[in-house]
């Protein structure tokens, strides 16, 4: 009887641990299968909605708590370029123009989901504070070392590195507020900035 009790208890403990590992794996993959891919950017129209599934709600609760519904603002996240995770030893070039939305911003977050400490105290660019080309287009350089023009500084996240279970150092989040119809009906093909990996050290 005691043997069976120990077996059942061990099985229960193993089951809970395995459940936690499986959930952690699912959540660390981000939106994964629940996402809509648009180039290297991914989004979900169900974010913040009561129609979101359990796994999406759990993912958003841990990585984007109190997100708005898509009609209010849509979020596109990018954590790799061409399959290569964003790294601090590389620099990235974001090229874009204006988008069909009331306003928009691009923010860099550490792997811990918080703003990245940096001496410049610059965490994002928005449609009003960019230096633009004559034709209205713009380029942002994301790098750990100082760059000319629109430089979005990145660096180590504020949390201790040993807690990083993911494969990327930071990610980029594009927020489009009061997005146009294209983002709500065809988010997989609506116009978005292009991100190109440049030099790596």
């Amino acid at each position: 009887m005691l043997k069976l009790g120990i077996k059942l208890l061990s099985a229960a403990v193993l089951t809970v641990l395995l459940s936690v590992v499986l959930l952690g794996r699912n959540i660390s993959q981000g939106l994964g299968d629940m996402s809509i891919q648009n180039g290297d950017w991914s989004t979900s129209l169900a974010t913040g909605s009561k129609d979101a599934g359990a796994m999406l709600k759990a993912t958003v609760a841990l990585g984007g708590l109190l997100a708005s519904s898509a009609e209010n603002s849509i979020y596109y996240r990018l954590r790799s370029v061409g399959g290569e995770p964003l790294r601090l030893n590389c620099s990235y070039r974001i090229e874009g123009n204006d988008y069909e939305a009331n306003w928009w911003s691009i923010t860099a977050y550490g792997w811990d989901n918080y703003l990245i400490p940096n001496a410049e105290k610059r965490y994002s660019f928005n449609n009003e504070n960019l230096v633009r080309n004559i034709d209205g287009s713009w380029v942002i350089t994301v790098a750990a070392t100082k760059q000319a023009g629109n430089w979005l500084p990145v660096g180590p996240a504020g949390a201790p590195a040993w807690r990083n279970m993911g494969d990327y150092d930071y990610d980029l989040l594009l927020r489009l507020y009061t997005p146009g119809d294209a983002y709500l009906t065809t988010p997989q093909s609506a116009a978005l900035p292009t991100v190109i990996r440049e030099a790596c050290q």
Partner: protein, 173 residues
């Protein structure tokens, strides 16, 4: 063979178990915010947050391009009155229940553009209250507790938006 059966059972139950755990995560995160918020400020009052920076670590992914104010509410003591002047630039008042669902929203965007320059006055009631008993704009919370979050654009000159948040309130009726 017996061991294999046990292992198979563990894997199958654990696979289903991750979804049960996933159901609990949003509530756990909201409870954390609720408890943390209560230790910093009382319930049923609006708190204007400083402009987000790298030290803002109470809620994940704060936007440095937004100003926030929040009211952690508990309707046990009765309905709440939430008042806010609406600035010209992007502004929204969003209502979240304890499982993170964004169950209601008031904005100055899309069909609600005409709200800019006006003053919003919402009566927030619980499921036990009858909406017909209240005048004006009434929102019924699916849960007794939750969070109201005000967001305003912080891009460009933020004077009007900051003043709008500071002139907003959340209080028991």
């Amino acid at each position: 063979m017996k061991v294999l059966k046990w292992l198979l059972c563990i894997v199958v139950v654990a696979w289903a178990g991750q979804y049960l755990l996933a159901l609990m995560v949003p509530n756990l995160m909201m409870e954390t915010i609720y408890t943390f918020g209560a230790s910093e400020n009382d319930y049923n009052q609006l708190v204007v947050a400083p402009v987000p920076d790298e030290t803002s670590r109470s809620v994940v992914r704060p936007s440095p391009d937004l100003l926030y104010a929040s009211c952690i509410y508990n309707l046990k003591g009765g309905p709440l009155s939430i008042e806010a002047p609406v600035p010209a630039r992007y502004w929204s008042m969003q209502f979240y229940q304890m499982n993170t669902d964004n169950y209601a929203s008031v904005t100055n965007q899309r069909g609600e553009k005409n709200r800019a320059g006006s003053r919003v006055n919402i009566t927030l009631i619980s499921q036990q209250d009858n909406p017909a008993d209240y005048e004006g704009e009434v929102i019924q919370s699916p849960t007794e507790r939750g969070i109201v979050l005000l967001r305003v654009s912080a891009i460009g000159d933020r004077t009007e938006q900051q003043a709008a948040l500071e002139a907003s309130s959340c209080s028991s009726i």
